[in-house]
Symmetry: C4
Subunit: 374 residues, 4 copies
């Protein structure tokens, strides 16, 4: 049953499946779309939709994080993003709305803009703005900066901490610094922590054992990211999520009942992808690129992945705004839609997929039947 | 033998095959093309070709439904289509012949046009028109509107009722309304009912047990429909039809001889696809997009799937007319063809495929050998 | 080991491989290219290269059939082609050199031109021309016309008879006419007969049992043919040839030593395809489209498959001449090449592939190792 | 477990995997990128990066061979390239920087330019130039010319000899000449020899038994080479490297400890490909096309494979310079990068991939986990 192939004599590989390899199969029952709930609860925080924002400056500003929260999702503030590097990043965002598509010039400009140091005082200020809006406040920090920035972030009074890098392991090795010990760090906190990304059963299980409330599965890959071209790491998301769901079951058993939430981050462009992520076992999805399609997008609809500005090895291409955007974030998330491409009314699409398959809540929908095509 | 893969630890999926994954293999015998019959009989109704029209306004008007009936197929009237919403839909159809290809503007206009309420009296009027032409009269209604519209439809004096939605199950659950109980509803009727779509063995079997004379397999997907992008549901048609054919065999055994007809609805663009649908076990095919290619097409060759006008979640793109159409419906169905693309002389193509493989009737042709490519 | 998949419950299909799915693997030995022989012998006729011309008027005229014979291959005269319908087809060929690419107008014109009846006296005249050039004379006729045309063809004094249709079976069934009994027909002849196309083990074996000297495997599919779109028949050539080679072994055993030659006809565009056909078990290849690339091509490099002119169901698209042709037939077959695309120096490519794998003759090269990619 | 399919009855093939079929899976541990070593040692020669230059004149001149050596790689001088045919090839290289992309004219010009005889005295002169620069000196010669050119090459005082052809076997058969006996030839030398290419376990093992210090795996295929179209030979590199690594293990056992280095040559365009080659078992990679992207490229960024100039069967297309080049060889190899496509900072990408997977040296990284997608 384990789907293993022999690459060459003595060298094996697991076969992995992407979301585009799988489809959902309705079976037996159907249900009224109005009887379906898309609610998601993480720790004490309840959300109308199973949605966390990817911490890209292209989609998340304090304003859009608040808006997303008001619409039922979880907005995020990137402690290493432009809003925590610049007093007023809006002129930069305006500039970033109009660079040349997929160009070296755009990459160079991203590198320059992100060379500006992080200003801890700005983190506190931005968090305050979110708190005042009375939405759940989540801040993202990379593992490398966690020890340095955590004090200011936590002092600012947040609800959820997201420790996120391309690949985060429970055991980081360093010859130079004392690395972050996730398990000890999380044990000392009294707020839920989401960590990731990870890519398979073992890394997911190890991250669960750190005490995290949620684990991010995937590296946020999208059509503009180039991690696969540069590192050779391309996560077959359907398999990665299903593997992590198996880890969640085993960890639940090992702990006698601790349920860790899985947040799928990668290859999610359409409502179909959201449905498939949940069908594979995710509790929630992380939205990056899809959030550029609404009017509120901070850089006018332009997109760059958070690793696209890396000073030595940028791993994403700059995408200029899609001229064909229409509608605001509410329409994007909840409809009504005027665009049949699957990028509008994202959670209405999830709701309808659940209805067609007869499921009434997100957790149940993890059991829906799948088919794989050639 | 069952072709199951492990997506991730503990999560399995059936491998599904599309029509484009399979090809027909001639073996042993050949036959004169003139000795081949493409006849199909459903209940008391006999057809020269195994063909039911998909109930899209882009292809079915009363006039084209009559023409199709005269040419040996089964035309359909959509009780929820434009002809049952507007006294004179022809100006609208003329407008719909000239919208901008695959545009949001076209989707918006479809939504507006279909917002007009259904007028029961028009259903009766259109049915009368079909009856007068002495063709077999089939009317399509969605499960949601069946209880409300069935009285007027049945009173109008039809031959075949088609209850069709994207996904129809034998067990619809609703917290608000008393849902349609298909089994009881059909038992009370004395005319053959076709129901669907469904996507696998179980849903097909359950629909057969409702007493339906025919079951639609598939969700009508074509290159312009976007159900797969929005719901994550993409039906591997070769597998779905073969699965439903297995359900038909089992139901035949369970009932001691009740044969339920399978109508394949999805991914049928060419005569090759018709041949493959039957080779996989279908008794007939449902034609949508292919019927836009004839001169009689009501909207001048434009195409939109019946779900393309959904007010909240449109699931199909508007396709402007193919400027390269040639020939009338007779040539489209029976030739002669002047277009080698497989979209003209559709049933001449089926006939010739059967001849090359040595089969003389459609039911026998369900046994033809298949091959699958990578 | 037999590579069978389950399409749906109870419906199986063989997995088939195309030439583009397989590659040749050199192993152990290499050899000087000058030590390699590409010779092929069919019955008493010896050829420098394992090459038969596909009987399309786009590539075969009496002049090019003679040229091909002089260059080591087997040219063919199509008894149902333009040279046997028109006294002087050259003005038509000139017209056919300049039609609009892949157009309905071109298909219509082909249908008109081929509506002209076959003139038996022209067959005799064309054969005479070939005999005078002292090349091996092969004439192609379809199974439908074999009984009517065979007398005049045989009287004309040919060397090899090719009975070829899209699909030829050893058991053709007809309600109207007494069909051709291949076995009796061939038994009465004292010249070698090549028959086909066929597509799998059984049809190949049955055709061998008719007494044929050679069997054509495949239906001549190329990028311009549309048999797969119209009939659903697409032959996975690597598998079909390998299956037919197994039939050849079994027939050799069953007859105590009668070796039937396999001529691969389909998906052969490059010297790589020739090598792969032989690697799968073919003794020779049938060249259609590749022969349009030389200066001598009768219609200036335009291409249409012999079924592209069918009056009711044309199954091939007209291809206007490739403006990028260079070189004559000798360069095309034997080099030197100035075009790295694999379409020039076709048999030099075969020779070099054999050398790189250490084989010295075509029959041995049937054993070369293959690999399959995803 | 061995992944063998049945092409047709009785004809089997190994399933092979390309680099683009596989991805790297980080598991468990991560590591600081600064703690990772990319060092490689062949015999007495130590390199900062596991990189050998493909001996194409498009990328290797004496100047760029020296530069590559200074940057940690192994530059190569092609004893059969332009620098050993012409006193001053620079005007020709300037011309070769501006031919028409993928044209027959370019192929013809390459054939003319390479028709110039090799001048042994130039080999000595070029080697002297490299020696004076105090980099490791490697010279490439084809098996056909090895016996004739070896004396002058060896006399010139080189460090490493590379005997390289498209396919090199340990047993070359010739009816005319006494062929090169690699085993005897290498035994007589007191410097390390690299030989290849080879494509599977057996050819790799046989080449190891010749006494070679390194074996080249693959035929140098890239997007511009057409060996697969002409010879039908397309090497699934992931499988070929893994097979050769198995041969290396077996040879290590058979000899009680002789470790032969594997140099992957084919389908390497990005840093991801470098990582995958090593993940499959390579010790080093051979870079051809990727080296055209730097400012120092001798023909201004144009590319032609060394077999593209073959007088009878050219097997590569001429590629005009990519206008979008940026940066020098140091940036190309070591960054910083301003191009997210994976073609800049090639070994920084390898280093980071190793870090994300927790490995600290190249040999260890051969154990990293892989996944295969459909």
């Amino acid at each position: 049953m384990p789907d293993v192939v022999e690459i060459g004599v003595g060298k094996v590989a697991r076969r992995g499946y992407h979301f585009y390899d799988v489809s959902i199969v309705p079976s037996r029952r159907t249900r009224d779309v109005d009887d379906v709930s898309t609610a998601w609860q993480l720790d004490a925080y309840r959300f109308g939709i199973p949605c966390v924002a990817h911490p890209s400056d292209a989609t998340m500003s304090p304003a859009t994080a608040i808006k997303l929260g008001q619409l039922g999702g979880l907005g995020t503030l990137n402690a290493e993003g432009l809003w925590c590097r610049y007093d007023d990043p809006e002129p930069l965002l305006a500039e970033l709305a109009s660079l040349e598509d997929d160009s070296v010039a755009a990459t160079r400009r991203l590198q320059e803009i992100y060379a500006e140091p992080i200003k801890p005082e700005l983190i506190a200020e931005r968090v305050k703005q979110l708190r005042e809006a009375e939405v759940t406040v989540a801040v993202r920090v990379s593992p490398q900066h966690t020890l340095a920035l955590a004090p200011v972030i936590l002092d600012a009074g947040i609800d959820i901490l997201i420790i996120q890098g391309t690949i985060v392991s429970a055991e980081h090795v360093s010859a130079h610094d004392e690395p972050l010990n996730l398990k000890e760090f999380i044990a000392d906190l009294d707020l839920p922590v989401i960590v990731g990304g990870c890519t398979n059963y073992q890394t997911a299980l190890h991250l669960m054992r750190t005490g995290a409330a949620g684990v991010i599965v995937g590296v946020g890959q999208d059509v503009w990211s180039t991690t696969s071209d540069q590192l050779g790491i391309k996560v077959p998301m359907a398999s990665a999520v299903a593997d992590a769901a198996a880890a969640r079951r085993d960890y639940l058993d090992e702990t006698g009942g601790r349920y860790v939430h899985l947040i799928a981050d990668g290859d999610i462009e359409t409502s179909a992808d959201i449905s498939k992520a949940i069908a594979c076992g995710a509790d929630s999805v992380m939205l990056g690129l899809p959030l550029t399609h609404c009017e509120e997008a901070p850089a006018g609809g332009a997109w760059w992945h958070s690793v696209a500005s890396h000073p030595k090895l940028p791993r994403g291409r700059y995408a200029s705004p899609d001229p064909d955007r229409h509608g605001d974030m509410e329409q994007l998330l909840h409809g009504p839609s005027v665009d049949p491409s699957g990028t509008m009314n994202l959670f209405g699409g999830l709701r309808r997929a659940m209805a067609k398959c007869g499921y009434s809540d997100v957790k149940e929908f993890q059991k829906v039947e799948l088919t794989v095509s050639l």
